[in-house]
Assembly symmetry: C2
Homo-oligomer: 246 residues x 2
C-alpha cells in the first residue's frame, strides 16, 4: 500500500482536517521537518499547526521570549539577528524556504535571536507539544532535528568565514552570491543598505557605494528597489579577480 501522501487528495477527503489539507498541498513539505511524517498521522495529533503570514519588517519571534514553537518557512526570507553588548544590531544569518527556525523552543529554551521577515513570508507554526507527540511515534524525527541543528551550525560557520572576513568589496560579492541561494526565480531579494550593513559589518554608505559600483560594473541590475538580477558570470569573474589581487 502506498504511503498516504501519494494518495490523490479526493480519495479520502474525510480524513483531513482543514490544516492537514494545507500541509498536503504545501510545496516545501517534503523538504521540511515534518516531511517524513505521514499525513494521516499528522491529522490524528491533537495540537495543530497554524499558518502565519508576515510582511517585511514584522517580527516572527524575539530573543529571550519563551520559545513555544518552531517555525517552518514556506516562502520568503527571514533574518536572524541579535543586538551586541554595545547595542548594535547584527544579522547572523538568513533562513529561506523549507528552513526551520526557532528550534531552541523544542528544548524549552527561550529564543536565542530575533527573527524578522525580510520579504513577504509564510511560515507554519509547529508547537513544541506537537513535535513531542509526533516524535513518540516517529523515531526519525529527533534525528532529522539534529541534522537541522548541524546544518544551522554549518550555515553559521560558512557565514562567518565568507561574510565576516576580508575586504568590504569581497564580503559584498559573497553576499550577492549567497542571495542567489534564496532566489525564487531569476530575481533575487535585494536587502536594504541598512540590512546589508548589519550583515557585513560596514556602514550604510559603504554598502551603497559598493552596490552602485557593482551596478556600474554590470554585476547586478535593480529592476526595483528590493530586487536584483545578478549576472552570475560577472559576479564570479569579480570574485576571482578579487582573490588574485590579495
Amino acid at each position: 500500500m502506498p504511503p498516504a501522501q501519494v494518495i490523490p487528495l479526493h480519495a479520502e477527503p474525510a480524513l483531513f482536517n482543514p490544516q492537514t489539507r494545507i500541509c498536503a498541498e504545501c510545496g516545501v513539505r517534503k523538504f521540511a521537518l515534518l516531511g517524513v511524517v505521514d499525513l494521516a498521522e499528522l491529522d490524528r495529533v491533537h495540537t495543530h499547526i497554524s499558518s502565519i503570514k508576515l510582511s517585511p519588517g514584522q517580527s516572527l519571534y524575539s530573543a529571550q521570549a519563551p520559545g513555544l514553537a518552531a517555525f517552518t518557512l514556506r516562502s520568503g526570507i527571514v533574518r536572524l539577528e541579535r543586538t551586541s553588548e554595545r547595542g548594535e544590531r547584527r544579522i547572523l544569518r538568513l533562513a529561506g524556504a523549507s528552513d526551520l527556525v526557532g528550534m531552541e523552543a523544542m528544548l524549552g529554551q527561550t529564543y536565542a535571536a530575533d527573527a524578522v521577515a525580510c520579504t513577504d513570508v509564510e511560515v507554519c507554526r509547529l508547537p513544541r507539544s506537537l513535535i513531542e507527540e509526533l516524535a513518540r511515534q516517529q523515531p526519525e524525527l529527533p534525528l532529522n532535528l539534529m541534522k537541522r541543528w548541524q546544518s544551522a551550525l554549518d550555515d553559521a560557520d560558512e557565514w562567518m568565514t565568507e561574510l565576516c572576513a576580508g575586504a568590504a568589496r569581497h564580503r559584498m560579492l559573497r553576499l550577492l552570491l549567497k542571495l542567489t541561494e534564496y532566489a525564487e526565480g531569476d530575481r533575487v531579494w535585494l536587502p536594504s543598505r541598512q540590512e546589508m550593513s548589519a550583515m557585513l559589518d560596514m556602514t550604510i554608505e559603504t554598502a551603497s557605494r559598493l552596490v552602485s559600483q557593482l551596478k556600474r560594473e554590470g554585476v547586478l541590475d535593480t529592476p526595483d528597489q528590493r530586487h536584483a538580477v545578478i549576472h552570475n558570470d560577472a559576479l564570479m569573474a569579480a570574485l576571482r579577480s578579487d582573490s588574485l589581487s590579495t
Copy 2:
C-alpha cells in the same frame, strides 16, 4: 539503592574495566555528555572510550574527514577552524573543558571544520556506535546532544556578534574577556598573534600592537609567551570607555 557513581570505588572494583575507572575519576564527567549515563552501564557497553593527549598545534580531526567519533574535552583548549574559499584560515570558535566537539560524526557526516589543540589537551574519544548503543538505554542522551548543538550554535552566534564586529581594539578586548571563560586558574591561555589574527580578522601586526598597548595600559600582563594575567576591572573599564566613544 544509591546510583553507581556514588559507591566508593573500592567497593566493587571488579565491575570496572580500566577505561571505565578513568571515567569514574574524571573531573569533568558530570558536565560532559555522558554525565547522565551511569558507570555500570558504561562498563557493560561493547565499544569503548579512549583517552587521547595532544600537544599545541596537533590536529584532533580535519574537515571533510569521515566522522567516526565525537570528543569530550577533559582539559585544554581546542580551536575549530576552516579555510575560506580564498584560502585564508579562520578560527570559528574555541572549545574548553567538558565541551563536546565533532558532534556531526553522530549523524554519519564528515567533520565540518578542523579541530586543533591550542594548549596541551586531553580528550575522550566517543565512537559513534558507543553513543548509539547508549542512546538505546538512555533516552535522555539524544536530548542532551540536542542541547549541546544548540549551545554550539549560541556560541557561534555570540562569537559572531561580539568578536567579528566593531573596531579592532574592541574585538581584542572582547577576545580577552572570552579567554577568561577558559581559564584554569588565575592565568589565561594567551593565543599566538597568528591565532588572534585568525580569530579577529586582523593582521598579526595589528594584533601585536593592540596587545602591547593593552599591556602598557595595565589590562594584562604576560608572565610568559603563552599565558596572561588579565585584570578584570581594567578590562571592563576599557570596554566601557570604548563603547562610550562610539
